[in-house]
C-alpha cells in the first residue's frame, strides 16, 4: 500500500477528479493548502501596506492505493494537472504499513477495494 500525496492547482481540481474517477480511483481525500514554490509572488496593497504573498492557494490530494495502482494514479494526476507553468505542484509517494476501513474493520487491500 502506498499513499499518494499530490499538491495541485485549485483550478485543475475538477479535471483531476474526473480523470481519477475515469481511471478507477474512487477513494481520496482533498484539502486546501497554501504552497510556496517557484511561483512569482503576488503583491497586494492594504491602505499603504504593501505585502508580498509568498503563498499561493493549492489543493492537496491524499490517495491510499494498492501498490500496482501507484503508477496509473500518478500518471493520471500528472496528465490532468499539468499546465506547463511554474506552480503546477508535486506528487509524493509514501509507504503505508497498514490500512483499515472503519466501517467494516477490513484491512489493507480489502480496505481500499470498493464494495457495493
Amino acid at each position: 500500500m502506498k499513499m499518494v500525496v499530490a499538491i495541485i492547482r485549485p483550478e485543475v481540481l475538477n479535471g483531476v477528479l474526473e480523470a481519477l474517477f475515469k481511471a478507477e480511483v474512487r477513494g481520496l481525500s482533498i484539502s486546501r493548502v497554501q504552497g510556496h514554490g517557484g511561483e512569482t509572488e503576488r503583491v497586494e496593497t492594504y491602505r499603504g501596506i504593501t505585502v508580498k504573498m509568498e503563498l499561493s492557494e493549492k489543493v492537496r490530494l491524499e490517495i491510499g492505493v494498492s501498490d500496482h495502482f501507484v503508477e496509473p494514479t500518478v500518471q493520471t494526476i500528472i496528465r490532468a494537472a499539468r499546465t506547463g507553468e511554474v506552480g503546477d505542484g508535486k506528487i509524493f509517494v509514501l509507504p503505508v504499513e497498514k490500512v483499515y476501513r472503519i466501517r467494516t474493520g477490513e484491512e489493507d487491500t480489502a480496505a481500499v477495494t470498493p464494495v457495493f
Binding site: N14, E24, V25, S66, V112, T113
Partner: protein
C-alpha cells in the same frame, strides 16, 4: 369618540387619538413617518434571520434564514387575504370578522381599522402586517436545526391566522383585553409574549435536537448575531415609534425610550457577564439589546425616558438568569425565544403597569403613580395571552404533526438542513461539484473496479 377612546387605550392607534376629532385628512408628516416605520419593521424580519442564523451551525444557516424570509411571503399574503380582517375588523371580544378579507374596503382614505387616522388605511394595514410577519418568524428560533420546511410553512401561515390574529384582536382590534384597558403600546403582549410562548411550546412538541446536551453547538458566525441585533434595533424604532401612528410628541417619546431602554439593558448585561466570568460576550451583548427592546415595547409610549432606563436595567435580570438556567435544563428552546421574548415581554408588560405616567402618555398612570389596578389589568392580559398562545400553538402543531412528520430524519439532521431541505450550502467553494449536464462519468465502469482504491 370618548367611548372608543376608552377601549383603545392600550393600542397602536393611541397616537392618532389626538387627531381623531379633527379633520380626517392625510397628514404628509404622519404619513412619511408611517411609510418609514413600515419599511423599518419589514427589515426586522430578515434581520432576525441573521440574528438567528449566526447562532446555528453553518450547515443550518440557510434553513434558519429561510424560516424568517418565508414568513415575509406566506404570512404577508395570509395577512392581506385574511389576517388583517380577523385582527382588525369588527367581530366579538376574541376575534374579528371577515368584513375586511381580501382587503375589501381597505383603500387610500385616511383611517385605521378602528379609529380615523391621518395616514392611508392601506398603509396602516401594511404596518400591522409587518408585526404579524415578524411574530411568526420569531417562533422559529425555538425549533431551528430540526424542523421540516414544508410543515413549517403550513405552521406559520396558520399560526398567523389562528393564534396571532385573535391575540391582536383582543388587545388592539376592539377585543376584550383592549376594552379592559390593557396597555400594550407596540406589542409586548401581542407579539413578544405570544411568540415567546409559542416558541416554548413548539420546542417541547418538536423535541430536542439530536446533539443537544451531548455536543457543544456553537454560533457559527457571531458577527451575524451582532449584525442582526443592530438591524433589529434600527427597525425597532419603526416598531415602537411607528406605533404612535403619527409623527408627534408621542412618537418621539416611544422612539427615545426605544433608544434608552436597550442601552441600559446592554450596560447591565455586560456588567453581569464581567462580574460572573470576567468576560463579556458579543452574543450576550446582542441578546441584551434584543431583550431591552422587547421589554420596552409595551411601555414605550407610556413611560418617561428616565423610567425607560430603569425598565431597561430591571429587564436585564430575569432574561439573563432564565437564559443561563435554560441552558442547564433539558429544554431545547434552541435560541432562547422563551428567555428573550416571553420573559422580556412579560417583564415589560408588567413594568408598564408599574411605571406608566399619565403626564407622558395622556391616558393613565401605573402602580408607582398611584394606580395599582393597571398592574392587575396587565397581569390579566399577560395571563390570557400566555394561555391562548400556548393552547393554540400546541393544538396547531399536533394537528400538523398528525398529517406529516414535523422533524427531519436523524440522518438528515446530521447532514444539516441546508442540504436536505434547500439543496444548497451557505458557504461553498464549489470544489468537487460536478455539473450534471457535463459528461457524466459512466456508471457502468463502476462495478468493474477491483483492487484499486475506493
Amino acid at each position: 369618540m370618548s367611548s372608543l377612546r376608552k377601549f383603545l387605550v392600550g393600542g397602536t392607534t393611541l397616537g392618532s387619538l389626538a387627531f381623531a376629532a379633527e379633520v380626517p385628512k392625510i397628514d404628509s408628516g404622519d404619513t412619511a413617518w408611517m411609510l418609514v416605520s413600515t419599511a423599518l419593521v419589514l427589515l426586522m424580519t430578515p434581520a432576525l434571520g441573521f440574528f438567528y442564523a449566526g447562532m446555528v451551525r453553518s450547515k443550518n444557516a440557510l434553513n434558519t434564514i429561510m424560516m424568517s424570509v418565508a414568513s415575509l411571503g406566506f404570512v404577508g399574503i395570509a395577512w392581506a387575504v385574511l389576517g388583517y380582517s380577523l385582527s382588525f375588523s369588527e367581530g366579538n371580544g376574541w376575534i374579528g370578522g371577515l368584513s375586511k378579507a381580501f382587503l375589501s374596503g381597505v383603500g387610500l382614505e385616511p383611517t385605521g381599522a378602528v379609529v380615523p387616522l391621518t395616514v392611508p388605511h392601506v398603509l396602516y394595514m401594511a404596518f400591522q402586517a409587518t408585526f404579524c410577519i415578524i411574530a411568526a418568524a420569531l417562533v422559529s428560533g425555538a425549533i431551528v436545526e430540526r424542523m421540516r420546511f414544508v410543515p413549517y410553512l403550513v405552521f406559520i401561515t396558520l399560526w398567523s391566522l389562528l393564534v396571532y390574529a385573535p391575540v391582536a384582536h383582543m388587545v388592539w382590534g376592539g377585543g376584550f383585553l383592549g376594552k379592559l384597558g390593557a396597555f400594550d403600546f407596540a406589542g409586548g403582549t401581542v407579539v413578544h409574549i405570544n411568540a415567546g410562548i409559542a416558541g416554548l411550546v413548539a420546542a417541547m412538541v418538536l423535541g430536542r435536537r439530536k446533539d443537544f446536551g451531548r455536543q457543544a453547538i456553537l454560533p457559527h458566525n457571531a458577527t451575524y448575531v451582532v449584525l442582526g441585533a443592530a438591524l433589529l434595533w434600527f427597525g425597532w424604532f419603526g416598531f415602537n415609534g411607528g406605533s404612535a401612528v403619527a409623527s408627534n410628541g408621542l412618537a418621539g417619546l416611544a422612539f427615545v425610550n426605544t433608544m434608552l431602554a436597550p442601552a441600559a439593558t446592554l450596560v447591565v448585561w455586560i456588567l453581569l457577564d464581567i462580574l460572573r466570568t470576567g468576560k463579556s460576550t458579543a452574543v450576550g451583548a446582542a441578546t441584551a439589546i434584543v431583550v431591552g427592546l422587547v421589554a420596552i415595547t409595551p411601555a414605550s409610549g407610556f413611560v418617561s425616558p428616565m423610567n425607560a432606563i430603569v425598565l431597561g436595567i430591571i429587564a436585564a435580570f430575569p432574561s439573563y438568569f432564565v437564559i443561563l438556567w435554560r441552558a442547564k435544563t433539558k429544554l431545547d428552546d434552541s435560541l432562547d425565544v422563551f428567555g428573550g421574548h416571553a420573559i422580556g415581554g412579560i417583564t415589560g408588560a408588567l413594568l408598564t403597569g408599574v411605571l406608566a405616567q399619565k403626564v407622558f402618555n395622556g391616558i393613565g398612570d401605573g402602580w408607582l403613580y398611584g394606580n395599582a389596578s393597571q398592574f392587575l389589568i396587565q397581569l390579566l392580559a399577560v395571563g390570557v395571552s400566555i394561555a391562548y398562545s400556548a393552547l393554540g400553538t400546541f393544538v396547531l402543531l399536533k394537528l400538523i404533526g398528525a398529517l406529516t412528520p414535523l422533524r427531519v430524519p436523524v440522518k438528515e439532521e446530521g447532514m444539516g438542513l441546508d442540504i436536505t431541505q434547500h439543496g444548497e450550502e451557505a458557504y461553498t467553494s464549489g470544489e468537487g461539484a460536478i455539473l450534471v449536464n457535463a459528461d457524466p462519468i459512466a456508471p457502468a465502469t463502476r462495478a468493474r473496479a477491483v483492487g484499486g482504491t475506493d
